[in-house]
Amino acid sequence: MNKLNVSSKMHLFIIVSALIVAVGLAVGLVCQFVAGGFFGSGAGYASYKSVTVKYSLPATYDEVSGICEEIFEENGVGYYTAVSAENSGGDQIEYRFTASTDGDALKAAAEGIDEQVGIAAGLLGSASYSENEGRFGGTDDMMYAGIALAAAVVFQFVYFAIRYKFTMAIAAFVADLHNLLIFLALLAITRVQISVSVVAVAVFAVLLTMVCCGMLFDKMRKNFKQDSYKSMPSFEQVDVSLGEAFKPVTFVNVVLASAFVLVLVLGLFAGAGIFGLFMPCAAGVLAVAACQYGCLFLTPAIYSRLKLRADKHAASKVSRYSGAKKAADTAE
């Protein structure tokens, strides 16, 4: 049996978690006042600047995009994504730039492009610069996601309390909150941009925590029934069981993390081709990391303390019930 000595290191894990949350809080608060948001706002809700280029035949996509690339380079600006579309008058490309990009440089670039694709160049195209201020409209979605999540956490608590033990239910509840907090702190620190997909990843983080806690506590519940475990101290029982559950829990996390990482790696090859997937996938990696750390290190450490107290309490009850004094009195 592998044994991981995590039970005795609860204080260390609490310090690490508190540090991560504190740094996340600090970064988020600084950004709230300096950058206009606790988290980075992402696709869907993001404010961005754009240069929209409209063109029609004989101008082609390659020709127009070549002109645009050149002029953007001349003006020292770089876009993060380009959306090409067809309209009734021809085609258009919308180049999107982050909100912090220099507006004057973009305006100059739009004018430069307009000169080359516009009426003056005989191409009947046009280019315009505009600023898009995103309005957050997902309050209801987030509220309902929050309610659903809270309901799921309560369900898990009740289920664990009935099926396993009350102390395990408490530890799993702590794990849910802890992992969500760590995930949010990591989002604030890394400035991964928030979008609907990232909100869904937060739900995913709690879900994954529930699955991992289920695997962990199921293993413990079964092990604790064995005679070989009953003779062990509480901390050792938890540590040995953790050693056995470590592999399957890590397996699930690795499979999921590798899915996120794989999309990120594919993104490296595709360049801006899958820009929009980068942030949700990065958030996914953070969620799995938070879950792996929370479920396999902090939660067992906390549970071992709860178990120790519960075991002591149970032992004291037993000794009170069959106390030697009572037995002696009865004999007399």
């Binding site: 696709a43 090409s84 305006k107 699930v252 996120f260």
Partner: protein
């Protein structure tokens, strides 16, 4: 199980799985050279991160684009001077705003007027955004452009076949849905309940506008002018059941009395419709054959999309969220995904690589048993694709990862059972005895994981909205598939392994060597 029976079952399952997988994943041109078979995967509706958005820019009356301005000024010398006099450019130069519109704010300077216009546009954008939130899209965006226009994007919900251009027929339908949603949800003006009969209604601004238009029928407000519409209607919700889609209108206590009076009059008039207008646009009609006395009533709509649009709009305006300006747009256009044109394909490749890696791991660790697992995993993937396709769930990036979570749970549960069986074999038991005991020992844990996932998925699907609800449905499908196929994997293990002479070798397990054997 005998060799022949085992071979027949294995062959049937392999062929069925491959057939389902091929129909599920592979698209191809048919032999007639005209038609094409689009796989189930390519017919699943995709979220905006995979198939892009349908978008348009809404311009309030008195605002034009720089394109229109430049074209008029360059092409029409007569109008050039008039335009230069009439319009003022925004800071970025992308739009031109009429001086009359700016002066209507009474702000003093152009700068202050632009600020007031930006504030009004932002407020309208918030109202529109809230309407889209109620509408139930997996994602959407509403943004203020240059402080004077509103850009609205909704997912096209294209299938991959439509997005990649091989299925042009469904593109028109999806864009029409998106256009209708944008058209309805950006309607300006108050909600009024109207009827064509002069004697039962009151003349108002809408009546005046209709009277001035020779093509319009004049209608009259049937609600007593002492009431606001929010005094009458408390809200509207989308309802569906048995393939029928409707808008449920809820009335207030005062609304019940007033509506009874109004519908009594309407039912006895020539025009028996209560016409719901937002501004000057007729949104939906209620047929009245008698006075309505209930606290709520339903108005049927032609399809789900339309019913959702009506419900979101009526609910918003009934609660007093009225746009300050009337907005117009040229056309709704759709483009490549802002996540990248190839986001869907690359995500599919990533999922395929994960599957291949897991299958390779299974074969390396469990030999022939790993191959059996891979076969059932292929069946799991095919079933997921088929059910998501049949239920019409929109697949977003979060949905893909939810599906991967269920796939990981499925693989994890099987490997957990295999390891339990391996431990039993190390105790010296035979493979059949070990399988029986191993599965028995892991049963409760596996059942618990699936029960927890099942309940959570139902919660997410029922309570969540938009993308979260879609993830809940996918989780539900995946959890059910995972549990059913977990047992099917055990059956296939038994069926395929039966003819094998060395069952330990089949499973990649080592038999415990006892001293007596040496």
């Amino acid at each position: 199980m005998g060799k022949i029976k085992s071979a027949v079952i294995t062959a049937i399952v392999v062929l069925a799985t491959l057939a389902l997988f091929l129909f599920g994943v592979v698209s191809c041109d048919l032999s007639d050279g005209v038609h094409r078979y689009n796989s189930m995967l390519s017919n699943i509706h995709l979220g905006s991160e995979f198939s892009g958005d349908a978008f348009t820019t809404l311009l309030p009356e008195g605002v034009i684009t720089s394109e229109e301005y430049s074209f008029t000024v360059v092409e029409n010398d007569e109008k050039a001077a008039e335009y230069e006099e009439k319009y003022v450019a925004t800071a970025s130069g992308a739009y031109y705003v009429e001086r009359d519109l700016l002066s209507s704010f009474g702000a003093g300077s152009d700068e202050a007027a632009f600020e007031a216009l930006a504030k009004q546009t932002a407020s309208d954008a918030d109202i529109i955004s809230a309407r889209f939130a109620v509408r139930g899209y997996t994602s959407y965006s509403v943004g203020v452009v240059d402080g004077c226009a509103i850009k609205v994007s909704v997912p096209t919900n294209f299938t991959y076949a439509a997005y990649s251009g091989v299925d042009t027929s469904s593109v028109t339908g999806e864009i029409t849905y998106a256009s209708n949603a944008i058209n309805y949800l950006t309607q300006g003006g108050d909600l009024t309940l109207r009827n064509n009969t002069r004697s039962i209604g009151e003349w108002d601004d809408v009546s005046s506008a209709q009277a001035a238009d020779e093509h319009a029928t004049t209608t009259y407000n049937i609600i007593d002018s002492r009431y606001d519409i929010s005094d009458i209607i408390s809200g509207a919700t989308f309802q569906s059941g048995g393939g029928v889609y409707a808008v449920k209108i809820n009335l207030t206590k005062d609304g019940m009395e007033e509506f009874e009076r109004a519908t009594q009059a309407v039912a006895s008039s020539d025009d028996t419709y209560v016409r719901f207008y937002v501004g000057e646009t007729n949104i939906i009609n209620l047929t009245c054959e008698s006075a309505m006395t209930e606290s709520s009533f339903y108005i049927q709509a032609g399809d789900e999309e339309t019913a959702r649009n009506y419900a979101a709009l009526v609910d918003s305006v009934a609660k007093g969220n009225v746009l300050a300006a009337v907005y117009e747009f040229d056309e709704v256009i759709y483009g490549t995904s802002s996540s990248g044109a190839d986001a869907a394909m690359l995500t599919a490749i990533a999922a395929l690589v994960i599957f291949a890696a897991l299958a390779a791991y299974a074969v390396a660790r469990y030999r022939a048993l790993g191959a059996v697992f891979s076969l059932v995993a292929l069946l799991f993937s095919s079933v997921m694709i088929a059910v998501v396709y049949l239920t019409g769930v929109t697949l977003t990036l979060a949905g893909v990862f939810t599906a991967l979570l269920t796939f990981a749970a499925f693989a994890g549960c099987n490997f957990w059972a295999y390891e339990a069986v391996r431990r039993e074999t190390l105790e010296g038991r035979t493979i059949p005895a070990s399988v029986k005991l191993g599965y028995k020992k892991t049963l409760s844990g596996i059942l618990e994981i699936h029960i927890v996932l099942l309940v959570i998925s139902v919660m997410l699907a029922l309570i969540g909205a938009g993308e979260v609800a879609a993830c809940g449905v996918i989780l539900l499908i995946g959890t059910l598939a995972s549990y059913v196929l977990y047992w099917f994997a055990r059956f296939m293990w038994y069926a395929v392994m039966s003819p094998a002479r060395d069952k330990f070798k089949f499973c990649g397990f080592k038999r415990e060597a006892f001293e007596d054997d040496e």
